[in-house]
């Protein structure tokens, strides 16, 4: 059996080496690929946040204010990813002339008629209203964890002295 396998392997190697054709290994993709990857990354990020949230609910690591903040932070990050996904999708579907205005940034505006896409785009663009609170709650959670850990260490050293 081993000898047969060896003969077949040698035969296949010879066939591939001796009969070269056009190489299909490398392919160049078009412009939408970057957007797709970015969108998929947002989806993964959202799934990761919701997965962690579920995991912490099933197997809680601890209780208290810190974990509460942390869960809120995860929810905000999840919502931000959903919002970002929607914003990117809508933005890609809006034509360039949907935004008017002189070259100056602050003079730009969305002209009427205000379609659902335009309104959705406008609201979704305020994504920092989701990601900044997410980060704030993350900071609060970490700060609380730090205080608890410091208190625990102080108690331990006090017990050791006692």
């Amino acid at each position: 059996m081993c000898q047969h396998g060896l003969y077949i392997s040698i035969l296949l190697i010879v066939l591939f080496v001796a009969t070269p054709g056009s190489a299909l290994a490398l392919q160049t993709h078009g412009p939408p690929e970057g957007l797709y990857i970015h969108q998929i990354a947002h989806v993964f990020f959202a799934i990761a946040m919701i997965t962690l949230l579920i995991f912490l609910r099933i197997q809680p690591i601890g209780e208290g204010r810190g974990w509460h903040y942390f869960r809120i932070s995860l929810v905000f990050f999840f919502l931000w990813n959903v919002n970002a996904f929607i914003a990117h999708t809508v933005e890609s579907q809006l034509p360039e002339e949907a935004i008017l205005g002189s070259g100056h940034l602050f003079s730009q505006y969305l002209p009427p008629p205000f379609t659902a896409k335009k309104v959705l785009y406008y609201i979704a663009k305020f994504d920092h209203l989701l990601c900044v609170p997410a980060m704030v709650f993350l900071v609060l959670a970490l700060k609380t964890f730090c205080r608890e850990a410091e208190r625990k260490r102080e108690d331990a050293s006090r017990d050791a002295v006692a």
């Binding site: 990857i37 990761a48 205005g101 505006y109 305020f126 920092h128 209203l129 970490l142």
Partner: protein, 511 residues
């Protein structure tokens, strides 16, 4: 307003990006601080890496967005168009990193939980093992202590037992023996016995053969009686219990045994049996003598009466004289029997000087002894305590012994007489010996029996030593015979047989 202005969006975007950068660094600081406080925590490690990802995300996104405003406002919008894909790609990478990290965390946590559980079990097992080890050490210590105590106990028993305890190897050679064994067998140190064959201790080869045969066939021997030979050649009687020692395969690797010296016990038992026998015989003799004595007196009386009445008939007169003579012999025998059984005349108790008593006896007998060229060796102690007893009866005792010695030698010999006080001064020991042929062992035990004699018919009644035994016993003393003597003093004096009479000072008085 003709449309919805985008300025609010840009303002929120600008300040939001800056806030994100600041907040991500604050979050990174706290997460780092947490890893410092609890370095072994998986969740803090995860959060630290998450925050690091957030910093990267905030920087790439925030700087990108701020730069966008700066470039566009500065009129370099084209540059932003070049940089925008780079910023977006970096954002994408940070998302993926954070996502990957977040997906891995539960797995890492599971692994860590398992590791912790294993560590806990390991710690538990370690604690159990430690406890077991400590318990084991304690147990070993306890067992060692118990073993040491047991060893000490048995060593003490071995060394201090008054019986002989011995061990032999498979070649039947003595490997160990206790101090009592060494002393009893007459040796001075254990090493003189170790290595000797056990058979050498047995006085009789046949006894050793029987002992060995029983031990080999049954595996043990119980209450085996045998004589052991001492270093000086004398013997002691032992009762032996022994077992074979076997290894784990059942092969005999030696013997172990305990031998109890019963020599003294046997002597006492023999004396007791003799005493019992004498008592029985004495009782019988007393009854018979008492019944015969009266008819004999009548026969003797009538015989003498007839002798006086019959005058001239010499034939009848001679017959009557024979009857009278034989009747007197019978009367003497009966009198001896009564003396033996203490049924004769009452004792006349007085204070007796044993040396003087012996001299009186010798004064009577020495002439006839000299006739037969028998020399009397005297060795009388000077400060001999006087004893309470019947002088006449004691003279009869010594007379019997001297006569016995004379008869044993017939002619040419030595009679040795020794007197000495008891070591405690509460009695007198009189030894009467002769250089005759000695007494064979088979008859030595019978010589005190009434009517036992080695003389021919008509030459002795066999009551002499019985009467002697009875009188000595009556005086609370003992009489023993040794042939040959055990004491070198008597042997060197040429004695073959000695009678040892021990009389207490207050023997007869005491009852």
């Amino acid at each position: 307003m003709n449309g919805l202005p985008l300025a609010p969006i840009y303002i929120v975007d600008f300040f939001g990006s800056g806030s994100m950068i600041v907040l991500s660094f604050i979050a990174l600081y706290y997460s780092f601080r947490l890893t410092q406080l609890e370095s072994k925590s998986v969740i803090w490690t995860y959060l630290f890496w998450l925050c690091l990802g957030m910093v990267a995300f905030a920087l790439s996104r925030g700087i990108g967005h701020i730069l966008r405003f700066v470039l566009i406002l500065a009129g370099h919008g084209e540059i932003w168009k070049t940089l925008a894909p780079i910023s977006g790609s970096l954002n994408t990478m940070t998302f993926v990193s954070i996502t990957t990290l977040t997906f891995y965390y539960p797995n890492i946590r599971l692994v860590m939980d398992r590791v912790r559980e294993d560590a806990r079990r390991l710690a538990s097992a370690h604690a159990s093992l430690k406890e077991l080890n400590q318990t084991l050490e304690r147990r070993v210590e306890e067992r060692t202590q118990a073993l040491r105590l047991s060893e000490e106990k048995f060593r003490h028993l071995f060394e201090n037992s008054k019986d002989v305890i011995f061990f032999c190897d498979a070649d039947r050679q003595i490997r160990d023996i206790n101090e009592s064994g060494v002393d009893l067998l007459g040796y001075t140190k254990k090493e003189d016995l170790i290595g000797r064959p056990l058979s050498e201790l047995f006085a009789e080869e046949i006894n050793y053969q029987q002992f060995q045969q029983r031990l080999c066939s049954q595996g043990h021997v119980k209450d085996f009686e045998a004589d052991f030979r001492r270093l000086d050649g004398s013997t002691l009687t032992f009762i032996i219990s022994a077992d074979t020692i076997r290894d784990e395969k059942g092969k005999t690797v030696g013997w172990e045994g305990i031998a109890k010296d019963i020599t003294r016990f046997k002597q006492v038992m023999t004396q007791l049996m003799q005493s019992e026998k004498m008592a029985s015989v004495g009782q019988l003799a007393a009854g018979v003598a008492h019944e015969i004595n009266t008819p004999l007196g009548i026969i003797l009386g009538y015989t003498q009466l007839l002798q006086e009445e019959i005058e001239g008939n010499e034939e009848v007169r001679e017959t009557l004289m024979i009857i009278e003579k034989q009747t007197k012999v019978c009367k003497r025998i009966v009198a001896d029997l009564l003396k033996f059984s203490r049924e004769s005349v009452k004792n006349v108790i007085s204070e007796i000087d044993v040396n003087q008593c012996l001299e009186e006896v010798l004064s009577v007998t020495e002439h006839s002894l000299n006739m037969d060229r028998i020399y009397v060796h005297r060795s009388f102690a000077e400060s001999l305590p006087k004893i309470m007893g019947d002088a006449g009866k004691l003279q009869q005792v010594f007379l019997n012994l001297v006569t016995n010695a004379h008869q044993a030698m017939e002619k040419d010999g030595i009679i040795g007489i020794w007197t000495r006080p008891f070591p405690d001064g509460k009695g007198v020991e009189v030894i009467v010996g002769d250089s005759g042929p000695g007494i064979p062992p088979e008859i030595r035990r019978k010589i005190f029996d009434p009517f036992f004699t080695t003389k021919g018919v008509g030459k002795g009644t066999g009551l002499g030593l019985s009467v002697t035994f009875g009188i000595v016993r009556d005086h609370g003393g003992t009489i023993e015979v040794e042939s040959p003597p055990s004491s070198q003093e008597f042997v060197s004096a040429g004695m073959e047989t000695v009678f040892i009479v021990r009389l207490p000072v207050r023997g007869l008085e005491g009852g």
